[in-house]
């Protein structure tokens, strides 16, 4: 066994002179994890924007995620499970995608100079992809860590307090922009890469979706800020449907 690995080290092929199938698996997994994350984020953003429909709507949705229709009052642990699941996919995706990052200054500068020369949209988009990807290493991790450790602190007031009073809003603003742009460009690449749909149409639709998600994301963030500001005096107090009537 050990010796077979040495054969691969020396010849880049295995003991039957065959190429490793790992690159194929990695390539597929990178796309698959990316696709899962795109789907996740599309719904995530929609759900958190439920605040636009009112605090009740947001509250009801939160409770639904805590499976309050099964366990009375809801069980935040499910959120933690969900967050953990996403975290695993997220880390996997990050690991796989790192393979494609510029690995040295030479590579980075070659890319930048080339992109500057050729003025080609799809090429330039990659800069967005790598910068937002890089930012999400941190921002995504912070957010997911919060969700895993404090799954109970979700709700119209709890979230708003975190955003406003805990001064998490700069983090969320950056994360929102990063995640939407990264997912959009990533989804577009997936379509191209695997030849799923026609290119121009896909590009047009993804642009529209990007604007939509950025729009609802920013407005929601604004609404949370407003609630947080108004709620600053009662920081930590949880939302109840009755109290708000």
């Amino acid at each position: 066994m050990q010796k077979n690995h040495l054969i691969e080290l020396l010849t880049q092929k295995d003991n039957r002179k065959k190429k490793s199938k790992i690159p194929a698996r990695l390539d597929f997994l990178q796309s698959a994890t990316g696709a899962v994350l795109v789907l996740f984020i599309m719904f995530h953003l929609l759900f958190e924007s439920s605040i636009l429909l009112g605090k009740d709507a947001m509250y009801a949705l939160t409770k639904a995620f805590e499976l309050d229709f099964v366990f009375k009052g809801g069980e935040p642990l499910f959120i933690a499970f969900l967050a953990f699941g996403v975290f695993v996919v997220f880390i996997l995706h990050a690991l796989l995608a790192m393979r494609k990052f510029p690995s040295s200054y030479r590579e980075y500068s070659a890319y930048r100079l080339h992109a500057k020369m050729i003025q080609h949209e799809d090429t330039s988009l990659w800069f967005i992809q790598i910068t937002t990807g890089f930012m999400m290493f941190f921002l995504g991790s912070i957010h997911l860590y919060t969700m895993m450790t404090q799954p109970d602190k979700i709700g119209p007031f709890a979230s708003a307090d975190r955003i406003y009073s805990d001064t998490m809003w700069p983090m969320y603003l950056l994360l929102l922009v990063s995640v939407v742009l990264h997912a959009s460009v990533g989804l577009y690449r997936l379509i191209i890469k695997w030849g799923w749909f026609e290119r121009e149409k896909s590009k047009w639709m993804i642009k529209a979706a990007t604007i939509f998600y950025l729009g609802i994301g920013l407005v929601s963030l604004g609404v949370y800020m407003k609630i947080g500001y108004e709620h600053r005096g009662e920081y930590g107090k949880r939302y109840t449907v009755e109290a708000n009537k």
Partner: protein, 246 residues
Amino acid sequence: MHRVYEDGGREIVLTIFRHNPNDEDSIPHFQDYPIIERPGMTLYIALTQIYTSMDHDVSFDFVCRAGICGSCAMVVNGKPRLACRTLTSEFSEGKITLLPLPTFQHIKDLSVDTGTFMNAMTKRVEGWIVNNSPQDISTIEKPIDPELSDEIFELDRCIECGICLASCATKVMRPNFVGAVGLNRVARFSLDPHDSRSDEEFYELIGDDDGIFGCMSFMGCQDHCPKHLPLQKQIAYMRNKMVKVR
């Protein structure tokens, strides 16, 4: 800014990258050549005029001058393209900057070595028909579905000009990347009923991050291909095939 002459020709300026890497004293620089534009002037005509009447030392490559042979690819105002098919009138400012094609060994001025890379690429992807069954060429040829033959022809139209590589950010960063030219070649042979190779065998040629899995779908290849080859479709086709190989 440009002056208008009586014959209707405006003055245009070609700015050419000048350097001879084989000459130790040569320092890379840009040189301006003002010329009078004529109706229907292509970069072939413009450069030939500069060479024969202004500067006998400027080097560039043209062969067929009709967009068929792929010799004259260069970077024209930032875009890799075939110089012989580029009309000077396309540039309303009258300023045209010419660079040699990146990602290839530079020879001199606008001339680069594409032959070495392309021959090596052909060998690397084994870009030829593989079929070990005996063939008698005095007997009637193997029938091929007419539409399939047209489809193969479509991919066979690649002229190895190198523009797909020079337009590819992946290639610019990772010199070992085989590029659209190589991946399209494999797709072409995988379609051909004369070729007996299986997907497993093609995997051995391109199944790594310098091959099919190296492509990051920047689309520079397809968007600049002077033959308008459906490169994205071919690369996607091969990628789908290659991930299925067990």
